[in-house]
Symmetry: C2
Subunit: 200 residues, 2 copies
Amino acid sequence: MAARVDHEERRTQIAEALLRIADTQGLQSASMRAVAAEAGVSLRLVQYYFTTKEALLLDALARLQSQLQGRMNAWIAAAGAPPTPRSVVTAILSCIVPTDAESSRIARTYNGYYTLVLNDPDVLEKHGAAQPAVLEGFLARQIRAAQQTGEVAADKDPELITAGLLAMVNGLGSSVLGGQRSGEDALAILRYYLDTTLFT
Amino acid sequence: MAARVDHEERRTQIAEALLRIADTQGLQSASMRAVAAEAGVSLRLVQYYFTTKEALLLDALARLQSQLQGRMNAWIAAAGAPPTPRSVVTAILSCIVPTDAESSRIARTYNGYYTLVLNDPDVLEKHGAAQPAVLEGFLARQIRAAQQTGEVAADKDPELITAGLLAMVNGLGSSVLGGQRSGEDALAILRYYLDTTLFT
DNA sequence: CATGTCGTGATACACATGTATCATGACAGT
DNA sequence: ACTGTCATGATACATGTGTATCACGACATG
């Protein structure tokens, strides 16, 4: 009944089913059985390819991160060539705000994972949690570069600026997910800060 | 065995047990049984005084909100008399950042409720969800007042400014809860924005 | 004194969840 | 052709959850 099968393909199929559920019903609803049904396989298979639920969650998270990375690269590229520090910073921060289906999906799902971590700090700890710090460092370097080209005033503190902006983007995303604001409104707020308080 | 009892007192006792659990173990861990144990009563009593779990959650949320309100008032008062728009805005935003035990508790618990709402939009809907909008309006008025006293540049948009700041405070709070930053660092970032990009 | 409502306990129910077990057909290597 | 590993299914198990039911003692009111 079952020939040798491409494990990676099956794992992808199942992990993406989880991400789909996390998008439409929330990560909390992504039970093993729900994932199995969504992927069109039996519960046993989900166990077979990912032994434990934690392993499945970690694998799906890795895929989610690479999706976000891809989106960022696409937005940087779409911001025009050659990229300037200003266009790069604007693109990265803007592409996080949930304005279209993809960014909403990513934001929703990331939020679900964040909740998981908050309620069970160690479970997902083996996953490089330094991700936000990396992004923060990268943005800070862009700001520094912008200071040298005169796009940003020299007396601004790049670390504090980027930390604040990332927190703001994060908070804006939450407000959009909570339905308090539209994605466009959130983007307008971000752009306002970038254009009036950061760049000259 | 049981004389007539002060219902409000018992309800307080139970609701605060829930908030205590939400603080120490996360709102997800606040099952009816856990709340009963924490409050030192039987499961039946939790049902008796709050029929359904949803009712208990709503009641506890109302108490949490009034606690935050009290904290805001205290911080405004502590900022010095007479209050200026600048001191009021700074106090309100600062007292939300999780720097001490109380603000951490409040932030953690609010975050739990926020997650609930995201995963089940209607369940808590009957609770006036307009709370954030109210705060936003209040802060925007303070900014406007600050513009007339010259504390804030006249060309700034009060609505966009306050929306961005609230989102930032929210995001900073998340980062502190997630352990990416200390409360003091978060507060420093907020103060930096207030002092260098908002107030003259 | 009788009676009914109040406060409380013990326990049952129905369901969902993650994980474990057992069985079995298919294919590969010998 | 035989045998063992692979892929898969069906099902069981232990646990936790919100809610419901039944019982019973205490007190207030008539």
